[in-house]
Amino acid sequence: MTLSERSSHLLASLSDELAETVQRVGRSVVAVHGRARLPGSGLAWRGDLVVTASHVLERDADLSISTPNQQQHAARLIGRDRASDLAVLAVPGAALVPADRAREALAPGNLVLAVGRPGTPEPIASFGAISSTGGTWRTAQGGVLDAYLRADIALLPGLSGGAIVDMHGRLAGMLSAQLAGGDPVAIPTPTLEPLVERLVAGGTVKRAYLGVSTQPVELQDGMRVRLGLQQRSGLMLLALEPGAPAERAGLLLGDILLSIGERTSEDGEALQMALGPRAIGTPTRVRLIRGGALREISVTPVARPE
């Protein structure tokens, strides 16, 4: 009972390509030793730099990595951001080989491989399709990331910090088992790049800060009609920190924030989403209601004080 030659050849070619891609990508995926149980995975980002998931590092010191050719190197934590489940390790002299990075965005239905190395000589892998992609979202740890990839793949123990790659073996993102509370989600490469640069430069990912305390309020129907507003609620300012960006820009107690930049601020969650790292130092247009009339004010958020 054999398959037709054509089908057998086709499936065998696919199988070969998958196995070869795992081997090729595996050369750019390291094991990260930073917790008592199973090691996590990490991405060779530069010759001497590894990007991994913050949660696989249960300590800040006594860290090491194992390279694909079984060499162990001491690693130094140079920055981590628990809210984005991201950490960067310096591994001097490791001569790592980073994977090519995917330039085109993946879409639902695209096939992907997840490749990790939880301390095993061979890489481990799982396979599936992208199930959804999306823009700015709130991580389970309370961080704000500007994109995500969700894939229909088995989230094997030790895959966190590993690679999601496309069918060309190009890095599409870093996997985390914790960012979305146990769902297989990856931070896409274009989102990863500036975050890693910030961690390398400053050691932490700063969040933007306005210095306000707010409460959502429902807008009266009459007011909405008169002002031509679609949104049903806004954020009323209840407190302004002296000297902080909001006060300096001239915002007043009782102002109702309608939008920040391009994002409507219907609740506190939306405000948090608008205050990602990219907003720091960027003059941002704030639309608000004051005294029953629409106003626009430009505010420049600063980095959140520690």
Binding site: L3, A19, G26, T120, I124, S126, I153, A154, L156
Partner: protein
């Protein structure tokens, strides 16, 4: 370009469907004498059906073939430690599945499992090999109760394992055909039931 991409995935899809049709003839539904149920695979030359030990806890079982025929079967050998059992039937079995070399599997290789998950007949599922092959194969594939004892095949449609366990993390385990061959060769802790009956 769009046409090429569509036809490539359509061809893979068609090839998987063909593989599933072929494989279905060598996979049986196994009903154990104590209410258990699972799958079994008709082994190469067609003389035996291989399944998991835990699918057939008692001395006999009923097999339901792909064409609906029912056959009584008896357990002729089992190895609880390997979770393997061999069944014999009085009548003729359908053609056996071709058996491949599990040691040649690589991480990332495509595999297809076929069994009777949750009572569904001959349901295929597709996945890949997670780690280098050993006595037990580690797989990223969606398996459910009823897949136990069925066939796990490589891209050529050759049996490389017998699915027997799933974990909560999306990892499935299969007994490798290397282990099955050792079991059938008698070089394991297999107990031969026919001998046991003489005691």
């Amino acid at each position: 370009v769009t046409i090429d991409i569509t036809s490539a995935s359509a061809e893979v899809s068609g090839a998987l469907a063909e593989l599933a049709r072929h494989l279905a003839r060598s996979v049986v539904l196994v009903r154990g004498s104590r209410g258990s149920a699972g799958s079994g695979v008709v082994w190469e030359d067609g003389g035996l059906v291989i399944t998991n030990h835990h699918v057939v806890p008692g001395p006999s079982a009923e097999l339901v073939l792909y064409n609906g025929d029912r056959l009584p079967a008896r357990v002729v050998a089992r190895a609880p430690a390997l979770d393997l059992a061999a069944l014999e039937v009085p009548g003729r079995l359908p053609p056996g599945a071709e058996v491949g070399d599990s040691d040649r599997l690589r991480v990332g290789d495509l595999v297809v499992a076929m069994g009777n998950p949750m009572g569904e007949r001959n349901a295929p599922s597709v996945g890949i090999v997670v780690a280098a092959p050993d006595e037990v194969l580690r797989l990223a594939i969606s398996l459910r109760p009823g897949n136990s004892g069925g066939a796990l095949v490589n891209a050529h449609g050759q049996v490389v394992g017998i699915p027997h366990m799933v974990t909560g993390t999306g990892l499935a385990l299969a007994v490798s055909t290397r282990t099955v061959r050792r079991f059938l060769g008698g070089g394991s802790q297999a107990q031969v039931e026919s001998e046991l009956r003489w005691i």
